[in-house]
């Protein structure tokens, strides 16, 4: 009994003063996902990686918007979104104070404009994603003429890209075979 008393007294006041004082979490703690909408390019990698589908992408082809959304209530704080994000737009913060009384406050949304295909005018990819890829192409070591044609292709939707490929192949074939056009 005395031993126990000694032990308890040695430990002293063990209780943390939270919430009257903030409590420190360990470095690398997986808390609330923090989304910086300016860095996001709406590529959807996080939504694909998210195991409980807390992150979702929705496309509005009439208005020309791609929406990123996060439902904090379904998030399992695994951190896969942070790992797959190419721009570092979504990172896990140390914040754990997430309780709410209104369920709507657990939702976050960000809308991004879709670009129109240069040839057919249909919406096909987020503007920011195309810009990002263009910037990567600059540094990819392509020769100047290759770079120019790559950048032109970037502004076409997948269907028009296919049509473009076909017409190119036809021209090449005609050149080779010396067939009159």
């Amino acid at each position: 009994m005395l031993k126990l008393l000694k032990e308890v007294l040695k430990v002293g006041e063990a209780t943390l003063p939270y919430p009257f004082e903030p409590v420190e979490v360990m470095p690398g703690f997986r808390g609330k996902p923090h989304h910086d909408p300016e860095l996001c390019i709406a590529c959807g990698a996080c939504a694909i990686a998210c195991p409980p589908n807390a992150l979702q992408m929705a496309t509005d082809l009439d208005q020309g918007f791609q929406s990123w959304s996060l439902f904090m209530g379904r998030c399992i704080y695994c951190g896969r979104c942070e790992e797959v994000c190419p721009t570092g737009a979504i990172t896990l913060s140390p914040d754990f104070e997430l309780a709410v009384m209104n369920k709507q406050d657990l939702f976050e949304q960000a809308d991004y404009r879709l670009a129109e295909c240069r040839r057919c005018g249909k919406y096909f990819a987020p503007v920011k994603e195309i810009e990002y890829v263009e910037a990567l192409l600059q540094k990819s070591g392509l020769a100047d003429d290759e770079l120019t044609s790559a950048r032109a292709l970037l502004k076409l939707c997948p269907e028009c890209k296919r049509k473009n490929d076909v017409s190119k192949m036809v021209s090449l074939y005609q050149e080779k075979k010396d067939v009159p056009r």
Binding site: K3, L4, E7, V8, V11, A14, V25, M26, P27, G28, F29, R30, A49, P51, N53, I76, Y77, C78, G79, R80, E83, L92
Partner: protein, 583 residues
């Protein structure tokens, strides 16, 4: 030094030879998934004999049973009996220990198979589950009740068949109240009490029914699986095989990471992926950190049940250090989520290492003091010695695992029998005792705690250099293999088969407590009801599995509902029996 899997010699060939000697042409096929994992296909009618022979004559223990709807692959159902075969009792040199899987095919137009339970009692829950989930009927099985699916699930709807339903399909409830039929107890001098569908208030995810004669427990039955969520079907549908690791973490709130490792290793074996040595050491460290906090929880509960509540609080206080360690290493106190197929996704750098070593030192000293205080509590020995005995023969028949089994004299620990991760590269000891009682199991957990502390220190000291992740491996559809881990409560074993779409075709995950529950009845018999909570806690089942217990006096033909808290109080104070109060 890691040896590539292809170079390791095959283990377990002598059991296949013994099978061939006995059954000859009945062994239709033999295929090896790993040097120590072999699957033999036998005709359906030979199933009980083959399993019984491996179980009792070759030192086999039933690890799991998985059924699989292989009709899209080969037109039949299949059932796999997974045994850990460890050498016959007469073998003077039992060194080969392997997983032998006995497989049989079941024709789709006649979905039934001969039940193995009459020969091997350990199969009882597995065969009930196969019937629930696949509609394949075990012929000759004594227990016809549902096991896993809820009472309000419609008959004839089998979730895990490939053609019955989408994983999101929710049928209308068939009834509003429970109708689970508990067993009737018969015996000389004991009158049979007809217990029909009684209206039990079950606010809890587990419902116990104790059959008593006065204060002595005659038998027990329990209705579990209130937490059945349908994970195995989820793994086949929405998630891809790399995301299932996050699902595996959430199978259990205490040994989630063990399940995570079992799943990851099953896929890695199926795909022949060589996990880097450093990743294996990191997994070992995390598995042992999980063992620390789990055993501390159980020791805290043990204190609580013998009335030493200050000890209970102190154990939980020091347990927070183990939680801090987990948070430091993985970013979360629970749900570590650190595994990917091919390795781990977080490394251990200097800051993590230093903090963990410091916390380990503190833990070792503080827990030593607390354990000695627990053992010096005046009535601890009287309360736990010879209580809740698991006789060795019952253990041999029912294949329990973990400290529950090791308390009955069997030194079976998967970390030694089928080594995985870094357990065969770092020195440590298996703890077993032969008291068969609650005291033995509690002491085993206390000793294992200190073994784990040393294991973690040794792993951190000798951690190899190199990468933590293997990328760029080849995906093989329909490959299957076993993954196994010694979780704090015992062996977790997962059987996985990959599909052709980067998703799992079939995942059977068997948690350790699943093998321990069936033998609990026998542990309760012959004890008084005041000891019931203590005995249940000694098998360390999922915490808070019961809120209310029904006590049926078979002599007086009376059923009384006793709140679990009241049972606990009676266990601690031993005065004012709740039965007397309510009569």
């Amino acid at each position: 030094m890691t040896v590539l899997m292809e170079e390791k010699p095959r283990v377990g060939t002598k059991y296949i030879a013994a099978l061939r000697a006995r059954f000859g042409n009945s062994i239709l096929d033999e295929s090896w998934q790993a040097p120590d994992q072999v699957t033999v296909t036998v005709p359906l009618n030979s199933l009980p004999d083959v399993v019984a022979m491996l179980y009792y004559e070759q030192g086999g223990w039933l690890a799991s049973v998985a059924a699989n709807d292989e009709r899209p692959l080969n037109g039949q159902f299949a059932i796999y009996y997974i045994l850990s075969v460890e050498g016959s009792p007469d073998d003077p040199n039992p060194s080969q220990k392997a997983y032998v899987v006995v497989r049989a095919q079941i024709p789709p137009h006649q979905p039934e198979f001969p039940a193995v339970t009459p020969k091997v009692p350990a199969a009882i829950w597995y065969e009930r589950e196969v019937r629930d989930m696949f509609g394949i009927h075990p012929v000759g099985m004594p227990d016809e009740r549902r096991l896993v699916l809820p009472d309000d699930w419609p008959d004839g709807l089998y979730p895990l068949r490939k053609d019955t339903m989408d994983y999101r399909y929710r049928p209308e409830p068939t009834l509003e109240d429970e109708n689970y039929e508990f067993i009737n107890v018969e015996g000389e001098g004991i009158v049979q009490v007809p217990l029909g569908p009684l209206h039990m208030t079950s606010d809890e995810p587990g419902h116990f029914r104790l059959y008593v004669d006065g204060e002595n427990i005659v038998d027990a039955d329990y209705r579990l699986f209130y937490v059945h969520r349908g994970m195995e079907k989820l793994a086949e549908s929405r998630l891809n095989y790399d995301q299932v690791t996050f699902l595996a973490d959430r199978i259990c709130g205490i040994c989630g990471y063990a399940h995570n490792v079992a799943y990851s290793t099953s896929i890695e074996r199926a795909l022949d992926i060589e996990v880097p040595a450093r990743a294996q050491y990191i997994r070992t460290v995390l598995l042992e950190v999980e063992r620390l906090h789990s055993h501390l929880l159980n020791l805290g509960l043990a204190c609580h049940f013998v009335g030493f509540d200050t000890g209970f609080m102190q154990f939980f206080r020091v347990r927070e250090k183990a939680m801090k360690m987990a948070e430091m290493l993985t970013g979360s106190r629970k749900t570590y989520g650190v595994n990917l197929i091919g390795g781990v996704r977080r490394d251990i750098l200097k800051e993590q290492r230093t903090t963990v070593l410091q916390l380990l030192g503190e833990l070792r000293a503080e827990v030593a003091t607390l354990v000695s205080m627990l053992l010096e509590t005046p009535n601890i020995v009287q309360r736990t010695q010879n209580i809740g005995r698991l006789e060795p023969q019952v253990a041999r028949d029912f294949s329990p695992v973990g400290p529950t089994l090791r308390g009955s004299g069997f030194a079976r620990d998967i970390r030694v029998i089928h080594p995985y991760c870094a357990y065969d590269r770092v020195p440590w000891h298996v703890v077993s005792k032969d008291g068969c009682d609650v005291l033995s199991r509690t002491l085993i957990r206390a000793e294992e705690f200190f073994e784990s502390v040393s294991l973690i220190e040794r792993c951190l000291d000798t951690m190899p250099a190199g990468p933590v992740l293997t990328e760029g491996f080849k995906y093989k559809p329909y490959a299957f293999a076993l993954g196994y881990v010694e979780a704090p409560r015992g062996e977790d074993i997962h059987w996985s088969m990959l599909g052709d779409n980067q998703k799992i075709y079939r995942w059977k995950c068997r948690a350790s407590s699943y093998n321990n529950w069936p033998s609990l009845r026998y542990m309760l018999r012959g004890n008084t009801i005041s000891d019931a909570p203590l005995i249940v806690a000694s098998i360390d089942p999922c915490y808070s599995c019961t809120e209310r217990v029904t006590v049926v006096d078979v002599r007086k033909k009376k059923a009384t509902i006793v709140p679990y808290k009241e049972m606990e109080r009676y266990c601690i104070e031993r005065t004012d029996s709740p039965l007397k109060q309510q009569s």
